[in-house]
Every structure is written in C-alpha cells, then in structure tokens.
C-alpha cells in the first residue's frame, strides 16, 4: 500500500501542520529530528519537545488528551520510535480519545544514528499496523496537498486519527534547547496548568 507513495519532507510538512493550528492545540514531538523540525517551524507555548524516553511521544500526548478533553492534541513521532512502542496504539484504540491525532514521519531509517534501516523501510506497513491495532481512522499521506486536506480540520474532535507520511532522509533543521525542566515548565504554562503565578509577570 505504501510502496508508491511520494517522498515528502518532514520540515515542510511540520510547517504546514503548525500553520493549521488555530486553537492552541498541544503538540508533543518525539525524540530527535521530529522535535528539531517542530522547533524549527517556530516555537509555540503549547509545544513539548521530548529529549529522551524514545517511543513515548504518543503515550505523553495521550495523557495530555485525557487531562484536557477540550483541547486538540497532536503527537509527532518517527518510524523507529513508534516501532519501539507499538503497544500504545492498542491502548489508544481502546480508550478512543476523540481529541488525539498521531502523525508518523516514516523515512524507513534511524536517520539520526547513521541511517540504519527500520522495518517500515522494508516489510512493515505502519498504517496497516495501526488499523490492526484498532485505529480504524489511519491513513497514508499521498502528497503535500493531500496532507493539507487531511489536517484542515478541528483537532479537538473526530479522533483518534493516525496519519503516516513517507519522508526523505533529510536531517532536522534546528536544534531544540536541551533543558527538560524549562521545556516542561513552558509547556504547562502554554496549557494553563503552570504554577508560576507572580513569577510569570
């Protein structure tokens, strides 16, 4: 199913996605290039950049979605990372948070560690895996215009939705500041759950 898909670019698609966000949606971006390109698309207070814990972008986004059911929440994750955490797709499919969208950037390689091949570059179709996990609303992105149409929606309803795009092997286009406590603090402020109070003035 995914064999004839156009190779897209993660930085370009990430910019297109961020451009569609009108309701302070939370975006949780996985380790490495995925969060580098989210940062490169322009920092937003509702962005969470994962600096470790490979594979946990979807569980973290799922938790945010449970805590704030009125807010759209988007997880961005690479193919190597989601392969580490396929089980979470079954959990999310079972609970069915309507405000959660998952986007998988699939370049078929562990790009950041030396371009070693992943299974999705060979035999594994991640959309078929997601559908098999129970995420019926899972789709391959055919091209950039198709992606634009798929994300031209409210993110706080109609989920869970999983989109997967075949991307090229370009590295991330910026480096996220590496301060986990600061990132967490700013993210919570962006979600209205921080406790800075007078210190935020």
């Amino acid at each position: 199913m995914s064999a004839n898909l156009q190779r897209l670019n993660r930085a370009d698609l990430t910019k297109r996605l961020v451009g569609k966000l009108k309701r302070d949606e939370a975006v949780v971006a996985g380790i490495g290039n995925t969060n580098f390109d989210l940062f490169a698309a322009g920092h937003r207070p509702q962005n969470f950049y994962m600096l470790g814990s490979m594979g946990l972008a979807c569980p973290i986004a799922f938790g945010v979605a449970l805590a704030q059911p009125e807010r759209g929440v988007i997880a961005l994750e690479g193919d190597g990372s989601i392969l580490m955490s396929l089980g979470c797709l079954t959990t999310i499919a079972t609970v069915r948070p309507r405000n959660l969208t998952i986007v998988i950037w699939d370049n078929g390689i562990y790009q950041i560690t030396g371009k070693q091949a992943t299974a999705t570059g060979g035999v594994t179709d991640i959309v078929a895996v997601a559908r098999g996990a129970g995420l019926a609303n899972s789709e391959w992105v055919r091209d950039a215009e198709h992606f634009e149409r798929l994300i031209d929606r409210r993110f706080d309803d109609g989920g869970p939705l999983l989109l997967a795009a075949k991307i090229d092997d370009k590295p991330g286009t910026a480096q996220t500041p590496r301060d986990p406590a600061l990132i967490r603090n700013r993210f919570m402020k962006g979600l209205g759950t921080g406790r800075g109070g007078a210190l935020d003035a």
Partner: protein, 176 residues
C-alpha cells in the same frame, strides 16, 4: 477497611484520578476498586514505560495520576524515569507490588526484585515500603503531597506484609 480501599481513599483525597496500570495478581483489588469507581479513570497500558509517559502527559495537562505495576515492570522504566520524569521535574507517583520476596518461587522475579531499590536510589527517587495498614495512609498521603510540592517522583512499594503477597505463592507455602 481493606488495605486496597484505604489506599484508594488516599488517592482520592489527593485528587489522583488517572490510574495507568499493567495488571498484577497483588494489584487486583486496587484495579477492581478503581474500575468500579467512576471517580477514577483507569487505563490498562501494554508496558510500564507507556504508563509512565501517559501519566506524565496527564500531569502536564493538569490531571494527577498514578502508575501501578509489579517489580518486574519497574525494571522496564529506568529510561523513562531518568530521561523524562526526573529531569523534567514531573512528580510521577508509582505503586509497585513487591514480588520475588518473602516466599515467592519464581527465580526471575526474585532476581529482578533486587534491582528495584538500587535503581530508585541511584536516581534519587524517594521510596517507601508499605508494610502495615496503620501507617500506610499517613505515609502515602504525606508523600504524595511532598512529591507534588517538590516536583519529584515517589514510589510506594507494596510489601507482602501489607498485601498478603502473591496468592499463588501463599498457596504453595501452605502446601496446597
């Protein structure tokens, strides 16, 4: 009041609603209590590190949660603790049923149990071994409050002295 009911009451008193768990025999009464009470939001996770991620996300979204697991499950989460919740200052509340000790028969569980406290200590995570119903509510209540105010994880280890341990191991010990 059963130890499990007393434990869930303390969670409620502290607004801990989300319960992400990987099932375990000893945790059964806690999970049953959570599932039967609409106050709680139970999520059965496929792995313990997934549960840590979910509860961390919920915390950042303003909802308190707890991760319930057994000792072997704790052995799966060192990376999630060391690279997510500890450096991010997220007060992850963990409930770990202590398996592989005080009369269990599975050598794998006995070995993995010995890794738990050294990992907690090396990450500087406060942990309390709960052994009796009399002191349990005080320890859990105060320690949850301390975790939240100091933005640091805390682990509650459920000793067989509190829970009665694994029913299968108890049956073996009784010669049944």
């Amino acid at each position: 009041m059963a130890w499990s009911d007393a434990f869930l009451k303390v969670l409620k008193d502290n607004d801990v609603r989300l319960v992400a768990y990987v099932p375990d025999n000893v945790l059964t009464p806690l999970i049953a209590g959570v599932t039967a009470d609409n106050y709680f939001m139970p999520v059965c996770a496929t792995r313990e590190d997934e549960a840590i991620g979910t509860v961390a996300g919920a915390w950042m979204g303003g909802m308190k949660g707890v991760v319930m697991m057994q000792t072997s499950g704790f052995a799966l989460i060192a990376n999630a603790l060391a690279s997510l919740t500890v450096p991010s200052q997220i007060p992850t509340i963990m409930v770990i049923s202590e398996r592989g000790t005080l009369g269990e028969f599975n050598i794998g569980q006995a070995l993995v149990a010995r890794t738990m406290r050294p990992v907690l200590d090396s990450l500087g995570i406060a942990h309390h071994t709960l052994t009796d119903e009399a002191t349990m509510p005080y320890i859990v209540d105060r320690s949850i409050k301390q975790a939240v105010t100091t933005q640091a994880p805390v682990a509650f280890i459920l000793s067989p002295l509190l829970t009665g341990g694994n029913p299968a191991a108890q049956a073996k010990l009784a010669g049944k």
